[in-house]
Symmetry: C2
Subunit: 207 residues, 2 copies
């Protein structure tokens, strides 16, 4: 196995990596604020303070840039969620509600807005379509695995897998409902109720 310890990186490689990270973060911001049609490589390069030539060196096409951006920021957010999960109540209904809230937050922030713009553009733009289908599958599997783990769900029991899937579908729907208006008050009631149903499905009391 080849390893690349940080100490072996040249200053040139560090600069290139920092440029790439700035482009990816700026691309997600642009998508969320301006939508797919307002988001070009030139707009992102300017926002990131990077020359257009450097941006095109990292990402030859617009599709490359924005797909990589959503993928990268999603991985970052999932890592942050994993770190945050350690601070949740260890078991019981309070944990279930906290986990549902955490999952729903993944779908109600700027990253979801950006991903939604890309997703909806992919429905009508062929060059994006196949890439976003791949990204959607990958992100969906990661989110499902994290949800199973954080909820302590036993998917060998009938209905549990579908209940975890429903939790993620619900989160996506709550994300959509938050797109144009602040839906947080209504959402908190839905989260509380869903967590209660989820708890009794995952950990039924009785014989």
């Amino acid at each position: 196995m080849t390893t690349h310890p940080a100490a072996a990186r040249t200053p040139q490689q560090d600069r290139s990596r920092a440029t790439r990270a700035r482009l990816l973060a700026a691309a997600v911001d642009c998508l969320a604020e301006l939508g797919w049609h307002g988001s070009t490589v030139a707009v992102v390069a300017e926002r990131a303070g990077v020359s257009r030539g450097a941006a095109q060196h990292h990402f030859p096409t617009r599709e490359d840039l924005f797909t990589a951006a959503v993928e990268h920021v999603t991985a970052e957010r999932l890592a942050a969620v994993r770190a945050h999960a350690d601070t949740l109540p260890p078991t019981g209904p309070a944990r279930t509600e906290a986990v549902v809230g955490m999952i729903v937050r993944l779908y109600t922030g700027p990253l979801f807005r950006a991903a939604l713009q890309l997703w909806v553009a992919a429905a009508t733009e062929e060059p994006l379509r196949e890439r976003i289908i791949g990204l959607e599958g990958h992100v969906g599997r990661e989110a499902h695995r994290a949800a199973v783990e954080f909820l302590g769900a036993d998917e060998s029991r009938p209905g549990v897998r579908e209940t975890v899937q429903a939790t993620l579908d619900l989160a996506r729907g709550l994300g959509l409902a938050n797109l144009l208006t602040d839906d947080s008050l209504r959402r908190s009631g839905v989260i509380r109720q869903w967590a209660s149903l989820l708890e009794s499905t995952l950990r039924p009391v009785g014989p």
Copy 2:
């Protein structure tokens, strides 16, 4: 109260009404296939076989045309759902599953694709924003009322209102998951499980 019995309509009025209906249907098809950026009044007029002048007489702006189109087709679909509801099993778990399936179908067809394009465009385009917020509120209330009625839900009981809301949020999330790929197989498992949880929440057995 002034009434306008059909018999009093002139042939001119009938033609105008038919033109309007053709424009609205073509506008929804365009949105679903081409997205907001590909959908102009000119493209819709051509698809509807209507002159651009006539289209602009009915709908002075692009925002007028597409908002009216999604509103009109949603009202048509809700009316169709009401008619179809009479053919469902009258009570019991089979009715609940059929009703959930019917609600989810509202969010997985071409109308949802069109509405989603408009909704997501409204997140970044000011002239659309206020209109779509109004439309979203109106359609959301209608859908909620229909869901309560078809599920026979008693919203005075704790948690029932939020459970009905969650059902509509889930349906929206399932609609998103069906945007780029055919998600029907996975979706049918989620619907079945959701209906079973819903049935035990709406009609708990026991004291």
